[in-house]
Amino acid sequence: MGNTIRDQDAHDRQVDALRAHIRELQHAQQSTEHTQKIRERERQELLAIANMVDHPIFVSDPNTYEVLYANEAFKKQWGQGVGKTCHEIIHSLNVPHEQCPSAYVSDESSPPGILEFQAPKDLRWYRCIHKAIPWPDGRTLRYQMAIAIADHQQTRRREASILQTAADGFYTVDTQGKILEVNQACCHLTGYTEQELLSMTLHDLDVMETAQNATSRIQRVLQTEPLRFETSYRRKDGTQLPVEVVINCPQDEKGYVFAFFRDVSVSKQTEEAARKRCHKLEKKMAKRDKELRHWRDTAVHSEPFASIGMLTAGIAHEMNNPIGAILLAAQDALASSKDKKNVTQALTEIVNQAIRAKNIARHTLKCARQEISDKCPADLNDIVRHAKILTSQYTARVRCHTALVLDKDLPPVNMSQLEMEQVVVNLIRNATEASASNIVITTDHSHDRVYLTVKDDGHGITKKEIKHLFGVFYTTRKNRGGTGLGLNITHRIVRDHGGTIEVASEPGKETLFTICLPPLLRPSGETNGQSADH
């Protein structure tokens, strides 16, 4: 009895366990059915969506390559298809296509893959996006969408061929500076092979940039705008290649930047040569400028006697007068030696004339030493007379007559006699060189001014010439020995004496230079008596 009860209990427990197992099985079955239902619904939804897509979409078994589903666009493109292998349908092949991604299809969590292929049937290029997906029967299948990229591909191939033939180096780099693509010129210019370059980064190439700078430069291009700059690339042989680089990024893609670079070593050399030449010229100019300034300074002394003949003639004339007088007086004293009074007078004359000669010699030496005599009160009339004598030989030679109309009551002017003499000589010379036949030099004064005018009947000065007349090196007689210094120096001397110089000219008729100088103050009430100088 006891055994029977135990047996009954055991049986009941087994039945309970079986029931529980059956419930579990039923539950599991229900769950699987539910999952399958969900999957089926999802599949149907997915395929419904796929049917609405314009690009061909199909699902195939990665093991058998059998196409299990094809959307409307696929059927339209490649016919019915379902039931055949993908390589039969798409590529007309008996064996799987070499690029077929089925081999890579593993699990559903893998990201989508992309490949591009050309379909032999229509010769169009497609970009193929493929991904592993679960199928309701539990299999992991391959989902694939083919997007026709024929135009894009052609453009790319055209671009590639253009880039390859370009004389400028071209490369693309990713955001970290890794080189992704190069053209032939890039290889040629850097000396590296394509393979070598593709294993390098931009900062391996760029001599000037640190890795950080190169990367930040790429970021700048990605964020803002194209960059153009100059740098140097390191060639494989260790030499440097100065380049001008333009970096830009594609409008829609921010994953990489591309760059063109140009060998600027030749233009650098040219630039360097030009800079050297320029520097040389500048140095030469500076030297010339210095020389000219020195010349201008020294010319202040020599310009009035621009021809050495004129200078020596002036000196000779000045010296000949006292020497001649001494000779006459001495000979006269000898001839009348019995007359003591005559002898004394002759000796006195000889002494006076010798002193005169001494002063002339001193004056000449002063000129030679280029000492500008200090300003002291002097009679402008004396200056004018002396200038006339100095230039007389010259004016006579060019048949020019100089008349003086001098103010007898001219107040003294504080001046450097030597310099003022140069002023008058310069103006006389200027007139004779304008082919004047007559020069009239006048002195005059008002209560606060002393005037010196030089009027000539030469060919005159045009308005345009007047503008530049006192400018340094301005001359209308360049081919006839004009230095363009005379009037500039004249102007400077007058200005240094606190005066002004003006010119008025009626070309073909007359030209009038008017110099205005401040007189030394003297008691007022004196008359202004002007008359011809005798």
Partner: protein, 125 residues
């Protein structure tokens, strides 16, 4: 008695040239400017003119000679100059000048020149 007119803006020359010629028996007048010299010729008609080429007034020696020769065509002119004689020679043009004397000259040079000039003119002291 031959007459000589001396014009030079240097008093010393006027004085000594006058002395020398007067001692030789010439009748001499002298002036410091061309203007004054010309004035003198209204009352004094010289046979020979000794004139400095460069005078300090509006006239030069050649112009004075030219002016006197208009009323006295027989005038013999001796030009004295502190410059080279070539310059007044060039300037003279058609004006007849008997001789040019470059300063400094000696007394004998002056006497010879005046003597020769007067011989040329057929007049003597």
């Amino acid at each position: 008695m031959a007459k000589a007119l001396i014009i030079d803006d240097e008093k010393t020359y006027c004085y000594y040239l006058s002395q020398i010629l007067e001692r030789e028996g010439y009748e001499v007048r002298s002036a410091l400017t061309g203007h004054d010299g010309l004035d003198m010729t209204q009352t004094f008609v010289p046979d020979v003119l000794i004139v400095d080429w460069m005078l300090k007034d509006d006239y030069d020696g050649i112009q004075v000679a030219e002016a006197i020769r208009r009323t006295n065509p027989n005038l013999q002119t001796i030009i004295i100059t502190g410059f080279s004689a070539e310059d007044p020679q060039r300037e003279a043009g058609n004006t007849q000048v008997f001789r040019y004397l470059e300063k400094p000259f000696e007394i004998q040079d002056v006497l010879n020149a005046v003597h020769d000039a007067l011989q040329q003119a057929g007049t003597s002291a």
